[in-house]
Subunit: 213 residues, 2 copies
């Protein structure tokens, strides 16, 4: 959850807490565990929330109609303007009870393989946090390393060099050039050359030309 | 991965395989493990694939520009028409090496909290499989239980009943009704009543009317 930008964990009647195993596994997110708040009941945990979103893999009898996570995400985000929003998950074994789901105002499912059954708890939490962080555009893609894209002039320089070398080598007949350069242009347009790559290619061409002489 | 509809696992030079711990944890997906194929090298594992998509949390120096998972998903799906597509993940400790990434034709990142670092391997695989299964519309939402939505006639019947009861009880002055019914209509429009609920509400109203008499 921390990797997706979520920091507030509330636990309802945990069997063990703090738990040395959990702390050991929290790898860099020990702060989330140490700030976690423990409540005796789900009702108490949700008391200050504007919206509680229950996650369930199973179809329920009495509850409101479920929404799939992707469709629910923008609505969940919208609700954060009104106050705290809780994402409510049941325990690993049995998920949320009907009574617990009835304390939620929305009911969300993560579509999955009906032949296999449901995600485990950690996987469901991860997917939910991921979907919400994408919907919120919480994190940019890691800044692409300065690609140093080649300029049009760089690329035209390369094409001129390539054509000259092709002619000079006898590979290309300047009177019947066919579609050689058109094909080269198409190829290199696809790869979006970097400046450094243009330099390398021209270096190679120059070396080949020299060798021939 | 099975929960998201993926069935083919390839392992490159695993430390232990088969591993009794892995089998024990595979809960219902033992078939994926037992069908898993083991290769000595990544090159061999990818030999029959039309596309290899490398997942990495870190920015790389030499490789092609990364794409975020959500944007890459439709392109990855498209490639499945050409042949097998491999989703390539590195090990838990260090991810994919530059050499391994160089064997991939696409490079995908899962955006995450830069202050925390990356997802663990299982979480990254889960999120990737989820994103692709949603992009492929692989699984429908669990069929919503027959809601038995109330018809317009049912709802109008309820409103008429409600208004009559409100007037009869003295709560609503029929000469100065204000916006009471408008508010009720707005409220019940939001909840999208079911037939059964209309019946319950009308039963309640009838009981209240009877009591007053």
């Amino acid at each position: 959850m921390k990797a997706m930008g979520f920091g507030e964990l509330r636990l309802v009647a945990p069997r063990h807490f703090p738990d040395p195993d959990a702390t050991a596994m929290s790898a860099g997110a020990a702060d989330v565990l140490s700030k976690a708040r423990v409540f005796d009941t789900l009702e108490a945990a949700l008391a200050d929330c504007a919206l509680a979103v229950g996650f369930s893999a199973r179809e329920r009898e009495l509850s409101h109609a479920p929404q799939v996570l992707r469709e629910a995400a923008p609505l969940i985000l919208e609700a954060t303007h009104e106050g705290q929003v809780a994402l409510v998950f049941g325990n690993e074994t049995s998920g949320l009870s009907n009574e617990e789901l009835a304390r939620c105002q929305r009911f969300v499912v993560i579509p999955s393989n009906p032949a296999y059954g449901s995600l485990n708890l950690a996987a469901a939490v991860q997917v939910a946090c991921y979907e919400l962080s994408v919907a919120a555009r919480a994190f940019a893609a890691p800044a692409a390393r300065e690609r140093g894209a080649a300029s049009v002039a760089d690329i035209e320089g390369l094409f001129a060099h390539l054509e000259a070398a092709a002619v000079e080598s006898g590979f290309l007949d300047p009177d019947k050039p066919g579609r050689f350069m058109e094909r080269m242009r198409r190829l290199f347009a696809r790869v979006r050359l970097e400046r450094q790559e243009v330099k390398l290619l021209r270096g190679l061409l120059a070396a080949l030309e020299k060798k021939r002489r």
